[in-house]
Symmetry: C2
Subunit: 334 residues, 2 copies
């Protein structure tokens, strides 16, 4: 594993993006979002995903020059057209706008249609929380999960992000609606391990912890069975209805063909009534109550969502971003 | 099982409420919400729960005369003080206000603190959807669920409701963050049945489908393990921070003592830009895609959240509300 300074990673990715047609500044921001994802320890969606992102530019699914545009506005709600631009730049712009609207109106909402994969959803939660706003956002995806009671993958895993600002460290939930991602199944299988809990059905339709059996049946479980399935369905409906964009059933189920997806960004202002400091104390008290919970396993600890992020951010900033030599070589050759 | 006409049930409950100090109109609305809950098939939270509700009035936790008041307002966001009034009347008023704000501003948000148990959360989702608005609301609760990694019940099961309007039948998700409620565990145990999936830990800390073992350990599972746990935590934080009200760790863990809880109500307007009809077609297409999914079990069917409600509503309106004789006798004697 190489350890490469953040700035060097960002510059390398930005250089590739410029060759692909990104404007100077947009290449910098897009590259920064990839590098920050790896820096924050979400290795699946950072530098490791860059090559797949580049593929979607080369195959024309992502238009590097397209900038998002507002198409309708009413009070605290805006509808934006992502124009099939880079998903992370579009999402960043949408949350930035939701934050600005939310600051003035108490709550701001941007419905972003016709956009592309936003890479790490947590990015936009952290973005809100670091602006002292509560951020709630979600995306639909290509069909990749069977609904509860169904045998075919026709709903999306539709990640939902809910982020809470806190001076001592934001609380950021970043959850897809599948219990385990396909990436997680693959890495359990490669390590020869069983999943810690049931993760899907095998070919006979029985619940199983065997990651390989689930990869073969293509029937991973929604988180919470019928609950995650229901949540995925309503999140998809809202995103498509508010954007007038595509719902999951209309999106290509081929990964590098996935495009024109629909996303929602909400920002709530806990300081709207001059009570940011009091809200911050409330957040601290909830965290303290979690930390004082008796652990289920000896030596264990109850953690809040995103608790490890700042520690990983620190470590990776200090030591350099961990990047597989093969991944780095591929980027250097682009 | 008695079958009693809707109007008769409502009138009986309203009569009891007036004796307890409810103003005439408020008694009617409160009674209607209870009767509608039973009418819609949510038997645990309708007429069957009325006696427990009456207990909280008699023990002073719920003040029948208290009406909610707005305490702060900015653009599309309002903060309300529930003044420890009846939880269902407060929640109904809060969603009504969120709908009105959302109609004008595209999105409306009411943070309602110092309130009481709202009974069936789905009520406020249906309320929004029947006004052609998307409704999102949640409540915190007393501590009743161990967080992931913890052995003590220190987080709430914090129900989340997401409702989507649709001319052919709203889609309404009403989910608590526990995989099974204590009421569900009890009824599986009484029927001598195992749960269909793991529902909690036994006394040795092993995952189990045995409802009695979970009741004894007091360790039901969050829906989706760490995912439902994380969702419960952030929903609690947001409700407490936006209301400056109590978080779960501050709420009494004795059921009839639970009071001064915190709730959030959001309404989004899918017709904000004159596109209600197009949004409705999008909703229909998602439902059609679910209905065309190959079922996991022969003769099965994939259903959308809330799909059975209108059928049950119809049946119970036609035949009368099903009420246990003992429950009805108790109400008649109040």
């Amino acid at each position: 594993m190489n350890r490469i300074p953040f700035a060097e990673v960002q510059a390398a990715l930005a250089g590739v993006l410029r060759k692909l047609g990104f404007a100077h500044d947009r290449a910098d921001v897009c590259a920064r979002l990839f590098a920050e994802t790896t820096r924050d320890g979400v290795y699946t969606h950072g530098v490791n995903r860059f090559s797949r992102f580049v593929t979607t530019i080369r195959n024309g699914r992502v238009d590097p020059a397209a900038e998002p545009q507002v198409t309708a506005r009413l009070g605290a709600l805006e509808r934006w057209d992502g124009r099939r631009g880079p998903g992370n730049l579009n999402a960043f712009a949408a949350m930035e706008r939701a934050i600005a609207v939310g600051r003035g109106h108490g709550v701001g909402c941007v419905a972003l249609g016709n956009t592309n994969h936003w890479m790490r959803g947590g990015t936009y939660g952290w973005q809100a929380a670091e602006s002292e706003m509560i951020g709630i956002c979600w995306t639909n995806t290509m069909p990749n999960l069977p609904p509860w009671g169904g045998a075919e993958r026709i709903i999306g895993n539709n990640p939902l992000i809910i982020a809470v600002p806190r001076a001592n460290g934001p609380v950021v939930l970043d959850m897809a609606m599948s219990q385990f991602s396909y990436g997680a199944l693959e890495s359990y299988r490669k390590r020869g391990e069983m999943l810690p809990v049931d993760g899907g059905f095998d070919a006979e339709g029985k619940l199983t912890r065997d990651p390989g059996a689930i990869e073969e049946s293509w029937r991973p479980l929604p988180a919470g069975y019928w609950k995650g399935s229901g949540l995925a369905i309503v999140l998809d409906m809202i995103a498509a209805m508010m954007t007038l964009g595509q719902a999951t059933h209309q999106i290509s189920s081929v990964a590098v063909q996935e495009t024109a997806i629909s996303q929602m960004f909400l920002a709530l202002n806990p300081g709207a009534f001059g009570s940011a400091a009091e809200a911050d104390r409330i957040a601290d008290a909830v965290v303290a109550s979690l930390h004082s919970c008796k652990p289920a396993a000896q030596g264990g600890k109850v953690r809040y969502p995103g608790e490890e992020t700042l520690r990983l951010r620190d470590e990776n900033t200090r030591l350099g971003l961990p990047v597989e030599p093969a991944v780095w070589a591929e980027i250097m050759a682009m």
